[in-house]
Every structure is written in structure tokens, then in C-alpha cells.
Subunit: 236 residues, 2 copies
DNA sequence: GCGCGTCTGTGCGCTGGCATACATAGCGGT
DNA sequence: ACCGCTATGTATGCCAGCGCACAGACGCGC
């Protein structure tokens, strides 16, 4: 499956990189929770009560329009944290956070987070540094959304997911992907069909397998390399 | 012109809202500089040496692709600060910052900024809060870029500029606007022509005048209201 | 093993935005 | 007043992606 991979130890890298002293101080405030595919971590505009540090799930940030159309603005895996508004001084995020891939996350209450953040040490620095990479990713996405065609963005998206999953197989319907890319389901069907014909992926009823990673990279827009370089998502 | 308006005192609101104690401490580090239309505040990937607090100019953050295509990902006026990477722990931004409207800004050296930021007081809080609104704006833009047609995005953009300018007249070629919206110059020509025919704006050789603000709002996509509510840009 | 719901492939007409090419139209300098 | 540069308006052909409609296809439950 998607989480028993030897190169993916079940930890959050952001937390893992903290000095022991900090790690031990916040450990009591951390609680492991499980998200299923499509679970909503928080709703747009909702008051946040916790932040979540993904362990082996992937969380997508979706911006939803009034008519229900959505587009992904960021993707967070074990390298980051979900709910940055809590330490940035807002109480809500403008986006919906959805588990794009099932798995576990460590959650931490707002109060404990803010308290540790205010200490201003390595924890604050790590959170801010991650926020900066998220900002980069969002900038990237904004421009990519505007300037690149569906099939290239699909490649980019598959690669970004794969980097956070460390497995070549993922569970996702075309409907879900369409919501991320901000296109119709049929558009994904066509684009994915082309990739399958090209032998880059195998696709069957909500189960995608990446067959040719290098091929996908070649077909993706420049954005993938840019965002991978900027964000600290391991490539295995 | 565009800056002798009584409701636009020549200050940066973010700095202005700081307690006197902080204001006096950082005052010696602030230096007023002037930007002309199109001046580059910093280039993508360039190491930042200062942050800039716009006073009566507007700075656009543009993401540039390898082929030269660009798209705006954020717009900063007197309500904010340009160069957030300096306190977020990066040394460079993934975007180019361009003066979309000529005017002045207060600049502050990286070292002084970081020193004051580390104090963790109201200055830090204000910077982080602004970063959060910028994040909101970028999310918004990413989705809007994907989901809304050119003419609606042009309305949104004109309104956002106008709110930061506090004048109904602005100096801008269609070429520049095209770079912001991530479309061709001809596309702007058509969209602006439609707005002019509808009596919403007057357009002549790089000089745009907003004639019917309410009409523009009605024609803009929902994004304008959302981002205006979220970001603290005054509406006069 | 049958039926139904979910997921996926496909076709068709339409529109927005692209590339290209060209025609004006102001504005400043000599 | 003339020239040339910059800024803008416009036409044509083309393609991507939309909305809609529908046809398989696989899987699960009874």
C-alpha cells in the first residue's frame, strides 16, 4: 500500500528536525489522528482549534468559489503543517483542507502551539520557514494555473503527490483530481488517458500507478522542478 | 495626480499602527526611496538586502516563467511590506516585485528588520498578520486565475489597484496589465474596450480613469469582495 | 449471479483565449 | 509640420477546455 515503504518513517519531518529539548516539551501536546480519503481537516473560514502535522497522509488546500468550483492552492505532506493561520495571527484560513491521501497526522491544540511559537526558538523558525515554502508553492500554483495546459499540470500534480507519498501507487478518483486542478472531470479523463497511452501511468477505477517517473517529469511543466527545489519534499 | 489625495496621508499603515516605542526605535533605520512606474524592487531569486514599506506606490508580485510569461500573484500597497522572505527565514522570494504605480516607499535594511523581528513584539505580530493576508490574497489569486474569465479578472484587478491608490485615475499601459493578468496584450485591449463601451472606465494611452466604481464591482468576480474583506485595504 | 451505483471514456457544439498580422492614433522631438 | 515610436484597436484562423449527454465497465451487495 501507500505507507509501508521503508524510506517513509512514520514521523513528521518538521517536528523530527527540532532539538530534543523542544521535542520533549511539546510531545505531551501531540495526539495521533487518522484521516480517511477526502476527510476535511478544516473548512474554509472555520475557526481553527488545532494544527496538524501530517505523518503519512497528504493534505490539499482547496479554495472554493461560491458556485462550488474548487482549485488546489497547496499540498502538504510530512514536510509541513496544516493550519498556519494559528501562528500567523489569523484564526481562520481562506481555504478548505482535505485529506487527498488517507493516513495519520499529529495534532496539537491551538493554545499549546501558540505558546511554544511565542518562545521564538527553533519551533518558530521551523514553522516560519515552512510557511515561506508554502508561500512559494502557492505563488507557483497561481501562475501555473494561469499559464499551463491541463495535461502538464496533471503531470506536475502527480509528481508532487508521489514525492510526498513515496509510493508509485495512489488512490484517487478523477473527480477528486478535477477538483484539485480546477477542471472538469472529463478533462482529467482525457489528460489521464493520454498519459496512460504514453505508458507513463496506469489508471483503473480510482487507483493510479506511476510507471515512468522520468517520463512524467519530462512531460510536466517547468513548475514541478521549481516547486520541488523550493519545497523540502524528498524525492526518495 | 495620483498621490495628492487628502485621504491618503503619506505613511505606511503597517508602520503607523506600531506603538510609539517601536516606531521610535526603528525610525533611524528607515529611508525614503522613490520608485518609478515599472521599477523592479527585487528580482526573483535575488538575495534581499532590504524590505520596503510602500507609502504611496503599489508593488505587484509577479511570477515569471522560463519563457518570459508572467502572472501577478499579489499586490501590496501602503497596508503592507515587500520582501517578507527576510523575516520568514528565506533569503529570496520566488517572485519579481515591480512598482505597478510610481511613488515612495520606506526601506529598512535586512539586519535591522531581523533584529526587531526577533524581539517578538508588536512588530513581529504585524508582519506576520500581514503575511497571512498576503497568503489569503495569493490563494484567492491562484483560484481566480484558474476559474474566471479575463474581463472579470480585469475588473477585480482595477478595483484592487484603486483601493490602494485612492484615486480614480491610474497610469498603466495595457501591456503592463497583460503581464499582471497573465494574458496577451490583445486580450486586455478587448476586455478594456468592453468596459469602456459599458461606460465603466475611460482609457487613453496609458491613462485609465474609473468612471463607475459600483458598475465595476458588479461586473467583477466574487474574488474582489473576498479579498477586500480579508485584506485590510481601505475602500476610502 | 444479478442489479445497481460509481467511475471512466467519448462525442459534439460552443466559447474564450491564443498567435499572427496589420491598421490607427496619439505624442514628442527636430 | 513631419517623422517615428509607442500604445491601442481589430480581423482571422486555431485549439483547449467547457457544458451536456450518454455509453461502457468495474465492483459491491443482496
Amino acid at each position: 500500500m501507500y505507507q509501508d515503504h521503508p524510506t517513509a518513517p512514520p514521523v513528521n519531518h518538521l517536528l523530527d528536525a527540532l532539538p530534543d529539548e523542544v521535542g520533549q516539551r511539546i510531545a505531551p501536546d501531540l495526539e495521533m489522528v487518522q484521516f480517511g480519503l477526502g476527510d476535511v481537516v478544516y473548512e474554509s473560514g472555520q475557526r481553527l482549534t488545532h494544527v496538524h502535522f501530517p505523518v503519512d497522509c497528504i493534505v490539499s488546500l482547496l479554495y472554493a468559489m461560491a458556485d462550488g468550483a474548487t482549485a488546489e492552492i497547496g499540498m502538504i505532506g510530512a514536510e509541513g503543517v496544516v493550519g498556519i493561520a494559528l501562528f500567523m495571527g489569523g484564526e481562520t484560513m481562506p481555504s478548505r483542507a482535505v485529506a487527498q491521501c488517507a493516513g495519520r497526522a499529529l495534532r496539537m491544540p491551538a493554545r499549546a502551539l501558540q505558546e511554544e511559537f511565542r518562545r521564538g526558538g527553533p519551533f518558530q523558525a521551523a514553522l516560519l520557514r515552512f510557511t515561506q515554502t508554502l508561500l512559494t508553492q502557492m505563488s507557483q500554483t497561481a501562475a501555473c494555473n494561469r499559464l499551463h495546459p491541463t495535461d502538464q499540470r496533471l503531470c506536475r500534480w502527480l509528481l508532487l503527490s508521489r514525492d510526498r507519498l513515496q509510493s508509485d501507487e495512489m488512490l484517487l478518483t478523477q473527480e477528486l483530481i478535477a477538483g484539485m486542478l480546477g477542471v472538469r472531470r472529463e478533462g482529467v479523463s482525457v489528460a489521464a488517458g493520454a498519459l496512460q497511452t504514453a505508458g507513463l501511468i496506469r489508471y483503473a477505477r480510482g487507483r493510479i500507478t506511476i510507471l515512468d517517473r522520468a517520463g512524467l517529469e519530462a512531460r510536466a511543466c517547468e513548475c514541478y522542478q521549481s516547486v520541488r527545489d523550493a519545497c523540502s519534499a524528498p524525492v526518495d
